[in-house]
Each structure stands twice: as structure tokens, then as C-alpha cells.
Amino acid sequence: MVTKVMQIILSPVLALIVGVFFLGLARKIMARIHWRYGPPLIQPVIDMIRLFYQKGVSHGRMFDLGIILSLAGSIVVVLFLPFGLIAPLSNSGGLLVILYIMLLAPLGMALSGGEGANPNISIGISRKLILSLGYEVPLLLVLLAVMTRYKTISIMEVVNAQQSTSWSIISFPLFLSGLSYFLILPAILGIRPFDVSSAPQEISSGPMAEYGGKYLALATIEHAFVMFISIALFVNLFLGGAANPIIFFVKMLVVFVLGLFIHAVFPRFRIEQAIKYLWKWPTLLAFLGLIMTLAIGS
């Protein structure tokens, strides 16, 4: 009981630390690729603390509630995701629940942004939702392939099965699905070439256009969580999870840095181009993965 409570408290805190560390690291690595020196690693923390004490602007009740809803949703997802073997709630519904609670984050942001009544926000949200429809198609095929392969909807059992055999990413036919997941990872994270919804130069950061002060701080935390969740999901499903948090963190770091290299060198897609890309190669790979999984299973 006590360990369970400890885990419930510990896992969101760990996730937050990892997520914020990734934000700082991203700026540093990006800077080095651009031949700059870059800000210190803890710059996001400094920014957040500063923003937290700055006066912000609110546009109504839903504007506040939306961001709370979004952040709370992300925290709940973290409780369901195994981090190493820390997974306090993973037996309360499995992958399907994770998939659905992951909805709360964009939905909350969209509701909060909608109340802001800024054209840039509306455009940003519209793009964000279209993009999510774009990457959900391959993502769902990938997740279905994994669940069908291991005949379970519990993420913990997927991890355990990989611990006893081999990682899914190097097993046939799930390597197709794993590859597909990696190809859509930048879209899930909303980084270049898929940063259409937050495009700072075009639509003033889209959904975040009206945020200032603590709203911006909370939105940054939310971003850190999303970063953690999408990479941790990949590590759990395809890289075999891990027996302890440290190895898990190392695996996450490798995936993150690889994703960052793509982010650093690619220009931004237009939304139609993004959808065309997402519904072509990643979907094809994921589709093949699912078909082969079904064929082997039966």
C-alpha cells in the first residue's frame, strides 16, 4: 500500500523532471547543430518560475478550466504508463484507457484556446486536430498490431512479454509497426517538420497565442508531459520497457535525441503535406505490420 502511494506520488514528479530536462536539452542540442552556444540546461525551469510570478490575462472561466483539465489529464496518463517498473495504475484499464485519456490534453487546450477568441488560436486548433487525425491513423494501426501480437490490452503485460523474449522493434513483424511509430513521433510531439499547429512565425504559436504568465508556464509543463508520454509509450511498446527507471531513462534519451536530429534539419510541412506524408509511408508500414500480425496470429 505504502509503496503504491509512493509510486503514485513519484511517477508524475519523475515524468515532470524528465520532460523538463528534455526541453532544456532540446534547446542545447538545437543550438549546437546551429553552431550557437545555446542557453543553460535549466533555462526552461528559470523561465517557468519567472512566468509563474508574472501577471497573465484570462478570457473567462473556460480559459482557466481548459488548461487545468489538460494538465490533469496528462498527469493521469503518466500514472498509467510504466516508467521502469513503476506503474501505479497500469492495471485499471490498460492501453485503451491510456489512448483515451491522452485525448484530454489536446481537448483541454482546445477548449481553453477556443475561449480566447483569437483567429490565430482557431487556425492553430483546427490544424492541431487535423494533424492528430493524420497521425492517429498510423498510430492506431501500430497499437492494434502490438495488442494483437501479445493478445492483451494491458501495457504491463506487453512490457513483461518483451522482457522475457526480445524487444518488439527487432521482432518480426512488429519492427514494421515500430518503424512506423518512429516516423510519426515528430508529429505526435508537434516538432518540426510537423509544428504546423504551433508555427510561431505564421500564427503566433497558435493555441498558445493568448497565454501569458502562469498560463504559459502551465502550457510548458503540459508540453513537457506530452513529450514524456509519447516517448515513454514508444519505449514501453517497442524497446522492451525496462526493469529500472535509469535504463528506461537512457532508452528514452536515445529516442529523443534521434527525433531531435530530424527536428533540427527539416523545414516545416504545410498541413496538407503533413497529412499526405502521414497517410502514406507510416500508414503503409503500420498496415503491413497489422496484416502480418493478424496472419501470424491466426
Binding site: 503514485i8 508524475p12 509563474f52 510570478y53 501577471k55 497573465g56 490575462v57 484570462s58 478570457h59 473567462g60 482557466d64 488548461i67 487545468i68 494538465l71 490533469a72 498527469i75 493521469v76 492495471n91 485499471s92 484499464g93 490498460g94 485503451l96 484507457v97 489512448l99 483515451y100 485519456i101 485525448l103 484530454l104 481537448l107 482546445a110 477548449l111 477556443g114 475561449e115 477568441a117 483569437n118 483567429p119 482557431s122 487556425i123 486548433i125 483546427s126 490544424r127 486536430l129 487535423i130 492528430s132 487525425l133 492517429e136 491513423v137 492506431l140 494501426l141 492494434l144 498490431a145 494483437t148 492483451t152 490490452i153 504568465g213 502562469k214 498560463y215 508556464a217 497529412i275 491466426s298
Partner: protein, 617 residues
């Protein structure tokens, strides 16, 4: 407390309401509400009872039978509750309209007829109530005249085709088994050949498929739902089309039985896999069409078609989890779709429009309706802690574990499409900039808020404690011969994955409180009018900053060419060719005696020619 009294109250109450309306509007309104509340209480008292009663009225020696079991009770309670809520909603919605007596009469008759359908114990009474329901629904759909007449006509033509199929199926059963009593057909049917069962299932499948609006029989629904008065749209979408679902359950699992139903055909060409496939297609295509609608009720109508796909998929898949998911989704859909139609109806009542391009910012003016709509779309999407999540979870889980990955993919992908159109609904109507002309509108009247609040509360209640309805659904599944599910008050326990909604709920509650505390600890924010910060204090033109028109434009451009309603166009082609054929036939009967004389002479000449040439006589 017997079933015939229930039906007498239901039908008699409807007529009495009409008569009262001739004397006083107030008395009629309160009487209509009282009647519908009495019906709820009556049905609630019948919980858990199992009755079968035969009345002989000498109709070709066929007994008219009423019966009650868990399945019919579950539908009856849904019918009576939704009927009452929509009647309450009508009080202010219909105020000052013409022909209100007639409206209430029809509303209560539809309810009574639906109660009759679920309580019918033989196919003749089922058919009689079915027809009463279809025709009174037609009168209500075309209540507004104008385009509503065309919508009603489309509905009734398709309904009549469905009824004919029903009659064919019924007669075929009668010829082989010499009875129409459901509980007598059920044991006898195992002697029937596979081809005969397939024929019966297809006939009934078309009849119920039209009512339930599965592809390719869906074309009446979008017009009918959007043109009907809002409270009746809620009944129509929430419960009336679900009579098709009831019919499917009755024919598949009560009459034909589980084993015969699943054993019909083999592999992917079996009856139930084809129906599953139709269900999956019904989920995906209407969902994408719904995204492109600009009329709020039309959007919801297409969404109804899509959600009906989940119900069919669950019912046709034929495992205990899927069946529970399908029936539970019927119940959830009744709640949340009625809620959404009522919310849109309240907006229409206050603003006079339901055009998604010319609304906005109403969350400030109608907070209760906004929260109701928000809960409604959350349940529609299937966000955890609403009922919609649990039913979809059940369906997905069984699809995945039974190895039907692609059906699961269709079902899941439909959900993401659902997010797009439901966010569009909430964004375009309630969020964003409030239009200048709407600055003075008042909040919705109490009789509109009450049903909205009650429906929202029950959606959340059944989402957090899904065990309450699942207990009843489990009993239904068991009576069909399925294994019992391990249902607890807050979810389902099984080896291959457990659902525990109370854990999700408490985790979410604690997380939200912590985030809220952190939020409060930060520097206080100033409340600023929306236009202020966007234009940085400069003058902004009125009504220019709510970007709603063609909300998903990039996506529209990509998918529009693929989403013509080909089936509807095909039906219209048939209709127009029948009309032109009838037109040319009519030209023969010109009414001029001279022509008739000419036909006779020509015919005689033809006969003489034949006789001279070939001498056949």
C-alpha cells in the same frame, strides 16, 4: 400492475392530453408531463419481473401477446425517461407555436407506440405498434412544413419499404411455424433450413436496418433529424431509431438464437461478419461527412448514423463483451445524443438559428446549456468518466482480443473523426467571440435547463459507476445464453484486462485538484475582454474575429471528392426514373375516348394480323 394498463395509460393519456388542449394550454402541458412521469414510475416498478400474457381478440386466431423481460424493461425505461425529458423540454420550446395540441398528442403516441413495441410478445402486435410509431413519427418530422415535408416523405417511403420487408419475414415465419408468438417460434426455429433462416434474417435485417439507419439504408436520417422540432429530434435520434436495435436483438438472439445466428455461413462470408463489416463502414463514412456539415442538427444527425454503427458492430459481433458494449452504447447514445439535440434546440430557441457559421461565444450567455453540450460531446467522443467510454472500451477490447484488428481500427479511427466534428460544434456555437446581435439574449428557460442537467448528471454517473446499467445488461446477455460477465459497480474484471473507473476517477480528481492549487498559487490573472488583447487596444471591426467558416478547410479539400453521398444519389435516381416511367404510363391514359377507341382498334388489328400470318387460333 400489468402491462395492458401501462399501454392504456400511455395511449389514453395521449388522447386525453389532446382533448385537454382544447380547453386550456396550461392544463394540457402539466397533464402531458404528469402522464410521462407516471409512465416512468410504472415502468420502474416493473423491474425484474417476467410476465407473459395473452389476449385473444380473434385476429385470424392469432393471440395478441404482451410480455416483459429484462431486455424489454431496459428499453422501456429508456423510452419512458427520454420521453418525459423531451416532453418537459417541449413546454417552452413549443410555447406559442400553432397546432401544439396535435404536437403533444403525437409525441405521447410515439412514446406509447415504442413502449408497445418493446412489450409486444408476438410479431403481429409488434407490427401494429411499429406502424403506429412510424406514422406518428412521420407527422412529427413534417410538423414544420416546408423542407420538413420533403424530409418526412423521404422517411416514410423508406419506412414503408422496411415495413414490407418486415411483413414478408413475418409471413414466412407464420407459414412455416403456424404461430407468431415469439416465445413459441424460438424453440421451433432450429428445425428450419439454413437458407430459410438467412431469408428471414435478411428480410428483418432490411426492416430494422432502415430504422437503425445502417449503411446503405441511412439516407432518410440526416434530413429527418435536422428538420424535426428539436425535442422530437432528441427522441428520434435517442430512442426511435434504437427500435431497430431492439428488433435486431429480438430477431438475432431471441428468435433465431445465438448458435444459429453465429453459425450462418462461414468465415468472412457469414451473416454476422457481413453485418459487422457494414457496422464498421457505418462508423467511418458518416463520421467524415459530419465534419463537413454547417447545420448543427445535421452534424448531429450524421453523427447518429456513425454511432449507430458502433451499436450494430457490438450486437452483430456476438460475444458477451461485444453485446454488452453494443447494448450499453445504445443506452449511452440515447442519453448523450438526446442531450446534444436538446442543447442545440435551446440555442436555436434563443438565437433563431442553428447555422454553425453564424453563432459563437454563447458559453457566457447560456452556461448551463454549454456545460451540458460539453458533457455530451465528451460522452460522444468517449472521454473516460463518461458512459460513452465504457461502452466503447467493451467493444474495442473484444474486437482486439478476438483478433479482428481491422474492425477495431475502423471503430477507433471513427473516434478521432468524432473529436473533429464535436469540437467544431462546441467551438462554433459556444466558444470564441460573442456576436453583436447575441449580446442581449437571455439564458435558456428552466424547463429547457432541467432535462439538460439531468441528462448530463446521468451520463457522468453511469460513466463513473458503469456497474448500474451493466448489471441489467449482463442479465440480458445471460438470458441470450452468453456467459456472465464479472461486473462490479465500477467496471469489469477479467483476466485479459480490467477496467476500473473509480481508480481513473479518483486519480483524475486528485490530479485536477493539485493542478488547480498550483494554478491558484501563481500570480493573479486579469480578466480582459476577448478583443482587447488580440488587437492590443486598437479598434477592431465588429463580428470579425470568430473564425468558424470551413473550420477544417485543408482537410475538406482533401476528402471532399471522396465523400459524396453516392447511395442517396442512387436512390434519387431510382425515384426519378420511377417517376418518369409512371409519367409515360400515365400518358397512355389520356382520358380522351378517341384514344381508347384507337387502342382497341390497334389491338384488334394486331390480333387479326397475327391470325392471318401464323394462324395460331
Amino acid at each position: 400492475m400489468s402491462l395492458e394498463i401501462l399501454l392504456i395509460i400511455a395511449f389514453g393519456g395521449a388522447v386525453l392530453t389532446y382533448l385537454m388542449g382544447k380547453a386550456s394550454d396550461k392544463a394540457r402541458d402539466s397533464f402531458a408531463v404528469i402522464i410521462s412521469l407516471v409512465l416512468i414510475a410504472f415502468v420502474a416498478c416493473l423491474y425484474g419481473k417476467s410476465v407473459e400474457k395473452t389476449f385473444y381478440f380473434g385476429f385470424f386466431g392469432l393471440g395478441l401477446v404482451l410480455r416483459l423481460n429484462m431486455l424489454s424493461w431496459f428499453f422501456a425505461i429508456a423510452i419512458s425517461s427520454l420521453g418525459a425529458l423531451c416532453t418537459i423540454f417541449s413546454l417552452s420550446y413549443m410555447k406559442g407555436r400553432e397546432r401544439t395540441d396535435f404536437y403533444y398528442l403525437m409525441m405521447l403516441v410515439v412514446n406509447a407506440a415504442m413502449l408497445g413495441i418493446v412489450l409486444a410478445g408476438d410479431l403481429i402486435s409488434f407490427y401494429i405498434f411499429w406502424e403506429i410509431m412510424s406514422w406518428s413519427a412521420f407527422l412529427l418530422i413534417s410538423y414544420n412544413r416546408g423542407p420538413a415535408l420533403a424530409a418526412g416523405m423521404k422517411y416514410i417511403i423508406m419506412s414503408v419499404i422496411g415495413s414490407v420487408c418486415f411483413l414478408v419475414g413475418m409471413l414466412s415465419l407464420y407459414v412455416s411455424f403456424d404461430t407468431l408468438n415469439i416465445s413459441q417460434i424460438a424453440p421451433a426455429i432450429s428445425s428450419a433450413s439454413g437458407g430459410h433462416i438467412l431469408f428471414i434474417l435478411t428480410a428483418f435485417g432490411i426492416a430494422f436496418g432502415i430504422k437503425n439507419a445502417i449503411l446503405p439504408f441511412h439516407t432518410w436520417l440526416p434530413d429527418a433529424h435536422s428538420e424535426a422540432p428539436a425535442p422530437f429530434s432528441a427522441v428520434l435520434s435517442g430512442i426511435l431509431i434504437k427500435m431497430g436495435t431492439y428488433g435486431f436483438l429480438l430477431v438475432f438472439y431471441v428468435i433465431v438464437g445465438l448458435k444459429l445466428f453465429l453459425g450462418l455461413g462461414s468465415g468472412i462470408f457469414s451473416y454476422h461478419s457481413i453485418l459487422c463489416f457494414l457496422g464498421a463502414v457505418t462508423i467511418i463514412i458518416p463520421t467524415f461527412i459530419a465534419m463537413m456539415q454547417t447545420d448543427a442538427k445535421r452534424l448531429l444527425a450524421w453523427s447518429t448514423v456513425g454511432q449507430a454503427g458502433y451499436i450494430i458492430l457490438g450486437i452483430a459481433f456476438g460475444t458477451n463483451l461485444a453485446l454488452a458494449g453494443g447494448i450499453f452504447h445504445f443506452f449511452n447514445h440515447a442519453l448523450f445524443k438526446a442531450l446534444l439535440f436538446l442543447a442545440v434546440g435551446a440555442v436555436e430557441f434563443r438565437t433563431g438559428t442553428r447555422d454553425l457559421d453564424s453563432l459563437g461565444g454563447l458559453a457566457r450567455k447560456m452556461p448551463v446549456v454549454f456545460i451540458g453540450a460539453l458533457v455530451g460531446i465528451c460522452a460522444l467522443i468517449g472521454v473516460p468518466l463518461t458512459g460513452g467510454f465504457v461502452s466503447k472500451w467493451l467493444i474495442y477490447k473484444t474486437l482486439i482480443l478476438e483478433g479482428s484488428g481491422f474492425l477495431a481500427f475502423f471503430a477507433l479511427a471513427g473516434t478521432w473523426g468524432t473529436i473533429l466534428y464535436s469540437y467544431k460544434l462546441i467551438h462554433n456555437v459556444f466558444l470564441g467571440q460573442l456576436l453583436e446581435k447575441h449580446k442581449t439574449i437571455e439564458k435558456a428557460p428552466f424547463s429547457m435547463q432541467l432535462p439538460v442537467v439531468l441528462l448530463s448528471v446521468s451520463i457522468l454517473l453511469f460513466g463513473i459507476l458503469p456497474g448500474i446499467p451493466l448489471k441489467v445488461i449482463n442479465a440480458i446477455g445471460t438470458s441470450f445464453g452468453f456467459e456472465t460477465l464479472n461486473v462490479t459497480l465500477w467496471g469489469i474484471t477479467s483476466e485479459s484486462g480490467t477496467l476500473n473507473t473509480i481508480n481513473i476517477f479518483s486519480a483524475f480528481l486528485v490530479a485536477a485538484i493539485i493542478v488547480w492549487i498550483v494554478f491558484r498559487l501563481g500570480a493573479k490573472s486579469v480578466s480582459v475582454p476577448q478583443e482587447d488583447s488580440y488587437a492590443a487596444g486598437a479598434h477592431t471591426p465588429v463580428d470579425k474575429y470568430h473564425y468558424t467558416v470551413e473550420f477544417y478547410n485543408p482537410l475538406y479539400r482533401m476528402i471532399k471528392p471522396f465523400l459524396r453521398d453516392v447511395i442517396d444519389e442512387f436512390y434519387y435516381l431510382i425515384a426519378s426514373s420511377v417517376r418518369s416511367l409512371a409519367g409515360s404510363v400515365r400518358r397512355i391514359y389520356s382520358g380522351d375516348v378517341g384514344y381508347y377507341v384507337m387502342y382497341i382498334i390497334l389491338f384488334l388489328a394486331f390480333l387479326i394480323f397475327v391470325q392471318l400470318k401464323w394462324k395460331p387460333w
